[in-house]
C-alpha cells in the first residue's frame, strides 16, 4: 500500500481522525491530550507520546491525568465497552476461550495493586551517540493503582499445556500505516512472570476507568518490567510454546546487547537479549529543579525509588556531586512492584549553586550510576542518578 504513491496523495488519508484536531496534527503548537494534565511534555503527536516533568510526579499514587503515554500505533476509536472481548489462544492453550468484559469481571476474583510502569526507553535523551526514537527525558514512569483479574486465573481457566514458555498479547490499536495485516505492537512475558500474583488483566486505574490513551477498556499490567509488555486495548492473549514473536519482540526492539559494548558499537541481532526486570532507579519529585533556598533553613526534598522485581533497600542523596552521600528515609513498598517513597533533609555549608543527587540501592546491593550506564544501540535502561539544581542564598 502506498508503495509508489507520492506524498501529496496519501497525506490526508493518514491523518488521525478524532484524536487530534486536524489543524494541530502537524504543528509545534502545544496540544492537550484529552484527560491529561496540561504540563505533560508532548514528544510526538503521531503516534502520541508524552512524558511527565519530575515535579508533576510527586503524588504517592500517580493520578490518571499524570500517567505518561507511550503509543506505538493509533489507538482504537469508538471503543464499545459492552461488546469488548478477550480471546485466549495460542499453541499451548488447552481450550481457547473468549470472554466479554462483563464475564471477566463476574467469573474471576478482583485484585488491586499499585504497579510501577516505566518505558524501557525512559532517559534515552542522554545517550551518546544518540539513539533513535522518542527522546524521553525521565518522566516515562508512574505508579498507579490497578484493578482487574489475575492473568494466571484466566489462563488456568483455559488450561496451560506443559510446553508453554511465553505469553503474547494482541490489541486493538492500529499500525501507523493503518495496514490491517500489521500489529502496532504485540509483546509478552515468560510464563513465570505471567503467573505471578501481581500480573493483572486490568480495567480500572485508581478506581476509575483506564484513560483512553492508557488502554481503555482493558490492558495487561506487569509492574517492574518494560511497560511495553503491559499491552493496552487488550483483545487477545496467546499462550506460546516459543518466545513470543509478535511486533517489537525481535531485535533490536526492547533488547540490549547480551554483553556490554563500547558506545556506538553495531550489535548483531543474535547478540541482543530481551529486557526483563527493570534496573534500580529513583527521582526527585519535590522541589522542582531550579529552586532558590535560604542558607539558614533546612532543605527538604522527596521523591520515589523503584526497581523491577526486587525492592529498594537504601536511599542516599549528595549535594557535592557524589563526593559524600547521606542516607535518607525510604518507605516499604505497599505491595510487590510498587514504587517506594523517600524524604531527605539537608543543610548547605555556604551560599552558592548546588545540585541534589538521588541514588537508590536495591535488595541485591546494586545502586544507580552517577553517569550514563552502559551504552546500548536503542538507548534503553538509563538509570543514572536524577538531580535537581538549587541556588542557595
Amino acid at each position: 500500500m502506498g508503495a509508489v504513491l507520492g506524498a501529496e496523495v496519501v497525506f490526508g488519508r493518514f491523518m488521525p481522525g478524532g484524536l487530534i484536531p486536524a489543524a494541530f496534527a502537524e504543528t509545534t503548537e502545544k496540544f492537550r491530550i484529552a484527560g491529561k494534565h496540561a504540563g505533560l511534555i508532548i514528544l510526538n503527536d503521531r503516534p502520541v507520546n508524552a512524558e511527565v516533568p519530575a515535579h508533576l510526579l510527586n503524588d504517592l499514587v500517580t493520578p490518571a491525568d499524570k500517567l505518561f503515554v507511550r503509543n506505538n500505533g493509533l489507538p482504537p476509536e469508538n471503543v464499545d465497552v459492552n461488546n469488548w472481548t478477550l480471546t485466549i489462544g495460542g499453541e499451548s492453550v488447552k481450550t481457547s476461550k473468549t470472554y466479554t468484559l462483563a464475564e471477566l469481571k463476574k467469573k474471576f476474583t478482583h485484585h488491586t495493586y499499585q504497579l510501577t510502569l516505566e518505558c524501557g526507553g525512559n532517559g534515552r535523551v542522554e545517550f551518546d551517540p544518540p539513539a533513535k526514537g522518542n527522546q524521553w527525558g525521565l518522566g516515562a514512569v508512574g505508579c498507579a493503582k490497578w484493578t482487574g483479574v489475575r492473568l494466571r486465573d484466566v489462563l488456568k481457566d483455559c488450561g496451560i499445556k506443559d510446553d508453554a514458555v511465553y505469553i503474547g498479547y494482541h490489541a486493538a490499536d492500529e499500525h501507523l500505516t493503518r495496514n490491517p495485516d500489521k500489529e502496532a505492537i504485540s509483546r509478552g512475558v515468560p510464563m513465570h512472570k505471567a503467573l505471578e500474583d501481581e500480573s493483572l488483566i486490568a480495567w480500572s486505574l485508581n478506581d476509575e476507568e483506564i484513560p483512553a490513551m492508557n488502554g481503555h477498556p482493558l490492558r495487561l499490567v506487569f509492574g517492574g518490567w518494560p511497560a511495553s509488555t503491559s499491552g493496552k486495548w487488550l483483545t487477545g492473549i496467546s499462550i506460546r510454546n516459543i518466545v513470543h514473536d509478535g511486533a517489537k519482540m525481535s531485535a533490536p526492539a526492547y533488547r540490549i546487547p547480551c554483553e556490554p559494548v563500547a558506545p556506538g558499537t553495531k550489535v548483531a541481532a543474535e547478540d541482543m537479549c530481551i529486557i526483563e526486570s527493570m534496573p534500580i532507579k529513583s527521582m526527585v519529585t519535590f522541589p522542582k529543579s531550579g529552586v532558590k533556598h535560604a542558607l539558614k533553613d533546612e532543605f527538604s526534598a522527596n521523591g520515589h525509588a523503584w526497581v523491577g522485581d526486587k525492592t529498594v533497600e537504601k536511599m542516599h542523596v549528595s549535594i557535592d556531586f557524589g563526593q559524600t552521600w547521606q542516607e535518607v528515609k525510604i518507605s516499604k513498598p505497599v505491595n510487590r512492584n510498587a514504587w517506594q517513597h523517600w524524604q531527605a533533609k539537608v543543610k548547605f555549608p555556604q551560599a552558592g549553586y548546588y545540585e541534589l543527587w538521588a541514588k537508590a540501592t536495591d535488595s541485591d546491593g546494586v545502586s544507580q550510576p552517577m553517569i550514563l550506564p552502559g551504552w546500548n544501540p536503542k538507548g534503553y535502561l538509563n538509570n543514572a542518578c536524577h538531580r535537581i539544581a538549587i541556588q542557595v542564598v
Binding site: 500500500m1 502506498g2 508503495a3 509508489v4 504513491l5 507520492g6 506524498a7 501529496e8 496519501v10 497525506f11 493518514f14 496534527a25 502537524e26 504543528t27 509545534t28 503548537e29 502545544k30 511534555i41 508532548i42 514528544l43 510526538n44 503527536d45 503521531r46 503516534p47 516533568p53 535523551v125 542522554e126 551518546d128 551517540p129 544518540p130 533513535k132 526514537g133 522518542n134 527522546q135 527525558g137 525521565l138 501507523l176 500505516t177 495496514n179 529543579s289 531550579g290 529552586v291 532558590k292 549553586y353 545540585e355 552517577m370 553517569i371 550514563l372 543514572a384 538531580r387 535537581i388 539544581a389 538549587i390 541556588q391
Partner: protein, 117 residues
C-alpha cells in the same frame, strides 16, 4: 520580530525541553523543521506517516538516517524517494546530526535557577 523569535524559542522549549541547545535557525511554524534547502521535501515525505517531532528530536549521522529510511521502506510502507533522497539526506545530515555531549550533560536551561543580573 523580537516577539516572533521569542515565541519560536518558547515553542522549542515546550516541545523538546530535554534535548538540544536552542538554535538561531528559522523554524517552519507548522512542523518545527529548520527552514533550509530540502525542508519541504522532508515535510511532505516524512510527516505523511508520523509526527515531524519524530524527526526533529532525533540526531543521526547521514549513514544512520539512510538506514532509517531503508527500514521504513522495508517495514513501514515508505515509498521510494527517487531523486529527492539525496536532498533529504543532505538536509537531515546538516541539521539533525549528533553533537558531542560527553557522559553527562549539564542540566538544561529550564531546570536551572533564574540568574539575577
Amino acid at each position: 520580530m523580537i516577539t516572533f523569535k521569542k515565541s519560536i524559542l518558547l515553542l522549542s522549549l515546550i516541545v523538546l525541553p530535554c534535548s538540544y541547545a536552542i538554535s538561531e535557525d528559522k523554524l517552519d511554524k507548522d512542523s518545527g523543521f529548520v527552514v533550509d534547502t530540502g525542508f519541504e521535501l522532508v515535510k511532505a515525505n516524512c510527516t505523511a506517516c508520523h509526527s515531524a517531532a519524530l524527526v526533529t528530536q532525533n540526531r543521526m549521522n547521514r549513514e544512520t538516517w539512510l538506514e532509517t529510511i531503508r527500514w521504513m521502506q522495508k517495514s513501514q510502507g515508505l515509498w521510494p524517494l527517487g531523486e529527492s533522497e539525496k536532498v533529504i539526506l543532505d538536509y537531515l545530515a546538516k541539521h539533525y546530526s549528533p553533537t558531542k555531549t560527553g557522559r553527562r550533560k549539564n542540566l538544561p536551561a529550564h531546570l536551572m535557577p533564574a540568574v539575577e543580573k
